[in-house]
Point group: C2
Chain length 396, copies 2
């Protein structure tokens, strides 16, 4: 596996400033494939779905999942809770791009949005910005578009890897993601687009996306809020000519998705720490996942990490209210390498050792449920004063 | 209904400092009834239950629910995640009190604890403090015990009312509650004890406690964390000789419980605002309750209130991921009296009006789901910098 900060073959992209964000930063992204892509996505499970989510779900359920060519992404406005006008604006956005790109808006252009909920898209700005974006399309813009999809993110999340199949053929997968708050994906993250030049049949692609989502984006949490706009989209254009085996592609997509998801958790709003929570000894993966996610979502756990307070009782408490049938008498818990809780009772650990384990930026927690063989690892960040500051004034 | 800051007839109590809290404040409470009480309680649904919860559940399931005489409450140590030693310490605490009070520890003395998880009870301090507490028992100590059960609470939660039945007879209900963090009760709050001198048969008492809990403590949330120690206990000693009707007693207990629950939400850790969320137009009370609780738990909603940012999209978003089958096209939302969202689209409200509605300390939100006739009101507080400060350093 080699790392190349490049788009896969046959993709061009651009990220420009169209004036949708108040701060004047890049906010409009266009991604285009030279040929039709197989496209698969997972969308938010929130019953309140943004207009582009409603539109995209319909498109990718249909035969057009085999003819996708372009994605338009705006940051700064979620186009959620915007009613019929919002749906018309999402369609109009696709039209603006399709006219310039000579594509069919409905059959070939996906739209994604992220930003404030309950505000209509500024169509005049999209109209003025779209020609600029299309004019700027290039094969060396992966870093640009990772910036243009950001909202409260402090760093872009971007990754590109080339893989070699057992037959010695190459393909590339590149991905971008955004998300720092309202992150508790349930079937998807805020926004992530992954592109590959591998040849992947639609059925295999859909299966791979579903599997990768469960083990990556569905294993992170920033604040427990499942967004209206969560979308994880994978486009496969086949331009490399390489057709990896199902397993090869799934492994590669898993790796890319997990790296992107971890980048999102690490850049959680106001985060000062990156926390890895490994839950072992569960009866099933679902049980381990549910317990891990509950711990990763608890404000009390997350503020304790911020304060570097080895208050481990909050972790066993969160496991207890996860809804899973856990038993404290079978539980054991480690902070870093420090064993603090063993089969229902505190160990005779040294307080200084436990506190020392909380000091690094990357903190590891291991909870063994003592019930079975299944395990799951989830990733989260701490909850800081800065989280409150960011979210008390998000719109201003 | 008249207000008297008094214990009901036949109850004595004391709250003293036994040195369990590091700050030297009152931390040991003893409540005694002159005669046997009918006792009913709801306990936490957390699978990780504190030792006194495990002990109390067994006691109140048995015939001893008709012979309870005393409750011992310590603050500063939760006696949770403490294994067999924790269970022995809870029993020993009851023994200390029962010896001094000439009662039977197992049949007549309940124990409750609140504080840090994962630390054993300091039995030497309880041994030294118990005689002081018993010596201090008096009928005028309701305010004292409301202080002695506090942890991160900033104000005591106490209430006492006398009621007159339709037959012209009087009875009194008095209650105390504590809780400011780890508050997301599911069948109970952190700790609340309500005493009454009414004559209430055990079956009716159990029913009334269950009903009152659902409409009061189960309608508040501070941080979404369901504690290991949640207990809501009601003792009825019958000393007034008054036997209210089932409806009279249920109404009275509902009123007392709701007032105590609202006091807990208002004093949420770091709270600067008290938020009332009324969900109407639901198909069932359960649906309204689930939607309301999800909104009340969202860190994004709660930080927006702290910042006085009328970012109402976070409320419709939270309703959408509540797990209930809601539809944004049927939803309407009001901040104070300002109608901001109507049947799926933003209204043409003035931003200044919505912002003005966020300014009072008491903020009211009304979400109509447009699906049915059921409704539920829940109460919560905002999430502030102070919440993070308190919980980053709780143990120190």
């Amino acid at each position: 596996m080699t790392t190349q900060p490049a788009l896969p073959q046959g993709f061009r992209a651009a990220g420009i400033a169209a004036g949708i964000k108040k701060n004047g930063k890049a906010d409009l992204t266009v991604i285009v494939s030279d040929v039709d892509c197989n496209a698969a996505a997972v969308f938010t499970t929130n019953k309140v779905k943004a207009a582009p989510v409603i539109r995209g779900m319909a498109q990718l359920k249909s035969a057009y999942a085999r003819s996708m060519r372009a994605v338009v992404i705006n940051a700064g406005c979620a186009n959620a809770c915007t009613g019929d006008q919002g749906l018309r604006n999402a369609e109009a956005t696709a039209q603006l791009a399709s006219t310039l790109l000579r594509l069919d808006a409905h059959d070939q252009v996906l739209v994604m949005s992220t930003g404030v909920i309950g505000v209509q898209l500024p169509m005049d700005k999209l109209q003025a910005g779209m020609p600029q974006a299309v004019a700027a399309l290039s094969t060396s813009s992966l870093a640009d578009i990772s910036l243009a999809i950001m909202t409260t993110d402090t760093v872009p999340k971007v990754i590109s890897h080339s893989y070699t199949t057992t037959e010695g053929k190459q393909f590339t997968i590149a991905g971008i993601a955004k998300g720092a708050g309202m992150i508790h994906p349930n079937m998807a993250t805020m926004l992530s687009v992954v592109m590959t030049d591998a040849k992947v049949p639609l059925g295999a692609l859909r299966q791979a996306v579903k599997k990768a989502t469960n083990r990556s984006f569905n294993c992170i949490s920033v604040d427990g809020d499942t967004s209206t706009n969560d979308t994880y989209l994978v486009l496969a254009n086949g331009v490399s000519g390489t057709r990896p085996s199902v397993e090869e592609f799934e492994d590669a997509l898993n790796e890319i998705s997990t790296e992107l998801a971890k980048k999102v958790a690490r850049d959680g709003e106001g985060a000062t720490k990156f926390i890895t929570i490994r839950v072992t000894g569960a009866r099933t993966w679902d049980m381990a996942h549910k317990v891990g996610r509950t711990i990763a979502t608890s404000p009390l756990v997350k503020t304790a990490f911020y304060g570097e307070d080895a208050n481990w009782g909050r972790i066993t408490c969160a496991a207890g209210y996860s809804g899973e049938d856990v038993n404290p008498d079978h539980m054991s818990l480690w902070f870093g390498g420090v064993h603090v809780f063993s089969n229902g009772t505190p160990t005779d650990y040294l307080d200084e050792a436990a506190t020392a384990a909380m000091k690094p930026i990357d903190v590891e927690v291991h909870l063994d449920l003592g019930l079975g063989e299944a395990e799951c690892t989830v990733w989260t960040c701490d909850m800081s004063h800065e989280y409150v500051t960011i979210n008390g004034k998000y719109r201003s």
